[in-house]
């Protein structure tokens, strides 16, 4: 038993990419179980949403966890990715180009907020970003090109020859697999970014601005990097939404959603990649997948209580649960070893 545990930890400590591979493989079980009829279509959809919103929350974690900056306009950028892709497709562009264009535009707006963040700090920045999100939401619901209530995209043609629609179950599963690939790719990108010069500079900037400046870190540059990365991640999440659901509501990109994404980062754990995935699962998955079955309409009371307890007992994020569990296993095995000897 102990040997297996040691071998396993050695394998996963050997290279961080192995963890990402394992996560990807585990997530692939979801469409597999759906194919076997164990999971329903609704469940598949909820899991798809969790993975998509995880990408968005990863971006926000760079902003909130590393750079110590806040944005209440995240939902607006998810909407930009999703609706932008839809609109550009309806204008006749291929999916890939439409996706890239909407991500690029979202990134530009992110850069603008980055400039803004040099002028306003803290609560004022929160209010400013709140209204950026609000402006975007108004645009989506008022401007005719977004289709009123719902923007229908329909089957998406990938690479010019591979058409996938979200209606037939087998194609829906393939779309899910694509979503998993994008998620893992974004996780790896975030891992690279945060374990490099830029990640360190972002952290230094938020923890001690004077030390950062003395070491040659230009605050403006890294504020821009932080906001652009966060909005690009959000827009990528939006593109994934357009790809997977292929029907994009115009009214869903509200402050509510932005706050829920912040909650995912806080509950899951600042600076933690897996914590963010866990946070998205706790905030969106637990109420929709588990509690709704038992408690129906009042399930949100339970999820609320759950989230408050996580914050109370795990202020550094729910991901700490795993570290505690690991510690418990270690002490248990150490005890057994002593017992045997």
């Amino acid at each position: 038993m102990a040997k297996i545990y040691d071998a396993l930890t050695a394998f996963f400590k050997g290279h961080p990419y192995r963890n990402f591979l394992l996560t990807g493989a585990l997530l692939m079980l979801i469409p597999l179980f759906h194919g076997l009829g164990i999971l329903g279509s609704g469940t598949l959809g909820i899991w798809g949403y969790i993975l998509i919103i995880t990408v968005v929350a990863l971006g926000l974690n760079i902003l909130l966890g590393f750079s110590g900056l806040i944005s209440l306009g995240t939902a607006g950028f998810v909407g930009a990715g999703a609706l932008g892709t839809g609109v550009f497709i309806s204008l006749g562009l291929p999916f890939e180009l439409a996706a890239l264009l909407s991500i690029f535009i979202a990134g530009l707006v992110g850069a603008l907020i980055g400039f803004l963040s040099l002028k306003v700090e803290g609560l004022y920045l929160a209010i400013a970003t709140l209204f950026v999100g609000e402006i975007l939401r108004q645009i989506y619901t008022q401007v005719e090109i977004f289709g009123g209530q719902m923007l229908q995209i329909g089957a998406v043609e990938l690479f010019g020859f591979w058409t996938l629609s979200s209606n037939p179950p087998n194609e829906r599963r393939l779309l899910f697999v694509l979503i998993v690939f994008i998620l893992i790719g974004m996780m790896v990108l975030m891992y690279h970014l945060t374990q490099s010069k830029t990640g360190r500079a972002l952290l230094a900037m938020s923890r001690s601005e004077s030390a950062a400046q003395a070491m040659g870190i230009v605050i403006l540059k890294y504020r821009l990097v932080a906001f652009v990365t966060a909005t690009v991640f959000a827009a990528v999440g939006g593109v994934m939404y357009a790809l997977y659901f292929q029907n994009v509501p115009t009214t869903a990109w509200t402050l509510d959603l932005s706050l829920f994404i912040i909650a995912m980062v806080v509950v899951g754990g600042f600076k933690s990649i897996y914590g963010t995935l866990l946070g998205a699962f706790v905030i969106h998955g637990i109420p929709n997948l588990l509690l709704k079955e038992f408690f129906g309409d009042v399930s949100y009371i339970f999820s609320g209580v759950l989230i408050i307890s996580v914050i109370l007992y795990y202020p550094y994020g729910a991901i700490q649960v795993f570290y505690d569990a690991k510690k418990a296993i270690m002490t248990f095995m150490a005890k057994r070893k002593r017992g045997n000897a």
Partner: protein
């Protein structure tokens, strides 16, 4: 005569009506250890903030390097490129980051790879990271704290924090390091260690050091020359033993005899 590495000429810095530094001039030559002393509130840290360009609206001139560069023309984040780097009075390390990563922040300017290199972790980015990590490990070994490299800075004892901050300055291959009260808050043992450490560093790197310190024993033993100021004004600059006997300095610290 030798040209100074750092030269302050008639530097004056006022905050509203309060003149923190008043017409101060002094030189620091290459390879020296110079101490800047003065009673509390004498304006020592303000002098440091002017030199490192955290304060820009001083009068007078501060030049650095061979050939001399007017530091006022250099943005605060580019001072480090000139070979001039500082520590802070209230240790400014990144608490929730490993000791090793804190050192790598000191090498920020030496990373030449772009964001895209980092995102894709190209060969260039990997080599650069490995090279600078090795450099940081060398420094940690010199300071005998290499066993702490993967630990968070948060929770380390004060003496270790001071060492990490000095190590971080050395990551940028500086010509001059400016230490703001390196021995403050250390016990006698730690102060002796720090003294030995600075000696060791001096032996290994061609460094010039300018430091503020209240621990007179430390200053007297370590410094080649000492500059004393009071109320922002220059009092005297001389060898430690002569400074100790200087009546102006004695008056500033002990008060005037009636």
């Amino acid at each position: 005569m030798k040209t100074p590495l750092l030269q302050l000429k008639n530097v004056t810095m006022a905050f509203g009506g309060l003149v923190a530094v008043n017409d101060l001039s002094f030189d620091v030559f290459e390879n020296e250890i110079v101490g800047l002393i003065g009673p509390n509130g004498a304006g020592k840290t303000t002098v440091f903030n002017c030199i490192t360009q955290f304060y820009k609206d001083y009068q007078g001139s501060i030049s650095f390097g061979v050939p001399p560069v007017d530091l006022k023309t250099i943005p605060v984040t580019e001072v480090i490129d000139q070979g001039l780097v500082r520590t802070f009075q209230n240790i400014e390390l990144i608490p929730d980051m490993s000791v090793l990563d804190n050192l790598l922040i000191g090498a920020h300017r030496q990373f030449k790879s772009h964001l895209l290199d980092e995102l894709l972790r190209t060969k260039k980015a990997r080599q650069e990271e490995a090279r600078l990590t090795a450099k940081a490990l060398d420094l940690l070994t010199l300071l005998k704290i290499d066993h702490l490299k993967d630990f968070y800075v948060k929770g380390q004892p004060y003496g270790i924090l001071k060492k990490i901050e000095i190590a971080r300055t050395l990551m940028s291959d500086p010509q001059l390091i400016i230490l703001d009260e390196p021995a403050a808050g250390l016990n006698d043992q730690e102060t002796d260690d720090l003294e030995a450490l600075i000696g060791q560093i001096k032996k290994k790197y061609p460094l010039t050091i300018l430091l503020i310190e209240h621990d007179m024993g430390f200053v007297m033993k370590l410094c080649d020359r000492v500059c004393a100021i009071n109320f922002g004004k220059f009092l005297a600059m001389d060898t430690p033993s002569k400074i100790q006997k200087n009546p102006l300095v004695q008056e500033a610290y002990l008060g005037k005899e009636d």
